[in-house]
């Protein structure tokens, strides 16, 4: 009885995860079959789903056989992927010596590292363009010159240029471009301002009359990014020419004189 209950809850968990993780990329595939980017995102989400199943495998080894038929098919597929997964999981804690691994891991967090620049004029004036960008699991509506606090981004140091390539929406006063789910040609440039710790949060647990009291301090590591440029949409350029302004100024003067 307990075995059956555990499996059912596991199956429910899996279906919940399938609905969360698999659904968005599948819809992208249905809409745009030619674009390569959605195809790239699907294997990643499948891998993570199968890694979850690899843990539940240990629990389901001695379970009832009724609902195991569905589970077995997926287990066989997971066994092929599990070997790659274990290698990837074991490397996460170590130093990334090969640069390719860095760029891969960075792509999972939807950013591409660019080189440091010292005397580069990156900071422009405000442009009336915004973009909705996703970093990790958080999405931000971003414009030129904004600062954003995200979770600590690995593989980048202070004063690094980043390119955030997971852009979901671009907007300007005249035009809006919606991605399904990502815009492949859009890019948002950002500069890492600092890696800092958040203020301390005290996690206090107490159960009354049970002599149980725990205090834990936690400081979250954050990264502050400053957005410098948004590319992928037409921006209206306000040209400051001397002649039209003077002509405009002259006309009202003449009119005033005539009146």
């Amino acid at each position: 009885m307990a075995h059956r209950r555990c499996l059912l809850s596991l199956a429910r968990h899996a279906t919940a995860i399938i609905s969360q993780k698999k659904m968005p990329p599948l819809s992208a595939v249905e809409v745009l079959t030619r674009k390569p980017n959605p195809a790239i995102t699907i294997p990643n989400s499948e891998l993570s789903w199968f890694s979850f199943w690899s843990h539940s495998r240990h629990f389901s080894s001695s379970k009832s056989e009724d609902s195991e038929t569905e589970v077995e098919v997926e287990m066989e597929e997971a066994s092929d992927v599990e070997a790659e997964n274990d290698n990837a999981a074991s490397d996460l804690g170590r130093d990334y010596s090969p640069e390719e691994k860095e760029t891969e891991a960075v792509a999972i967090g939807y950013k591409v590292l660019g080189p440091l620049q010292r005397s580069d004029r990156v900071f422009k004036d405000y442009e009336p363009v915004f973009a909705v960008v996703q970093i990790g699991s958080h999405q931000f509506k971003v414009s030129n010159g904004d600062s954003i606090f995200t979770e600590r981004l690995k593989f980048c140091e202070v004063n690094d240029k980043l390119i955030l390539n997971k852009v979901l929406l671009l907007g300007s006063p005249t035009q809006t471009i919606i991605g399904r789910p990502i815009l492949p040609d859009a890019a948002v440039h950002a500069v890492v301002e600092e890696h800092a710790l958040d203020a301390k949060v005290i996690i206090f647990k107490k159960k009354r009359r049970k002599n149980y009291r725990r205090t834990k301090g936690h400081r979250q590591e954050l990264t502050k990014l400053r957005i410098t440029d948004i590319q992928g949409i037409e921006k209206q350029e306000i040209k400051t020419d001397g002649k039209p302004l003077k002509a405009a100024v002259k006309n009202p003067e003449k009119i005033a004189a005539a009146v």
Binding site: Y126, P128, V129, V158, E194, D198, A199
Partner: protein, 93 residues
């Protein structure tokens, strides 16, 4: 002491833009002091710490701005919150 011999030179080379000064102050715990551009000073006591821990704290001081450590109000700081106009109930598409 071990930190100053082994890891301080590499830290100095990695950050040529920083001015690293070592002082021997008797009778006080060893500490790291960071002076920031907004005239903020951050002091970290490194008594009884291994060189790796001291290096970690030094890099943290180097990575941070001199902001006061307060709980963040918003994760997104912007001067121009709206591009296409703020939505009100009167706006019609």
């Amino acid at each position: 002491m071990a930190f100053m011999e082994s890891e301080l030179p590499t830290f100095k080379e990695k950050n040529p833009q920083l001015e690293v000064v070592t002082e021997l102050i008797r009778g006080q715990h060893p500490h790291l002091k960071g002076f920031y551009k907004n005239k903020n000073e951050r002091v970290v006591c490194v008594k009884n710490m291994t060189p790796e821990d001291i290096l970690l704290y030094a890099t943290r001081l180097r990575n941070a701005l001199g902001r006061k450590v307060v709980k963040l109000r918003t994760r997104h700081v912007t001067k121009h919150p709206s591009v296409q106009g703020t939505w009100t109930t009167d706006v019609k598409f």
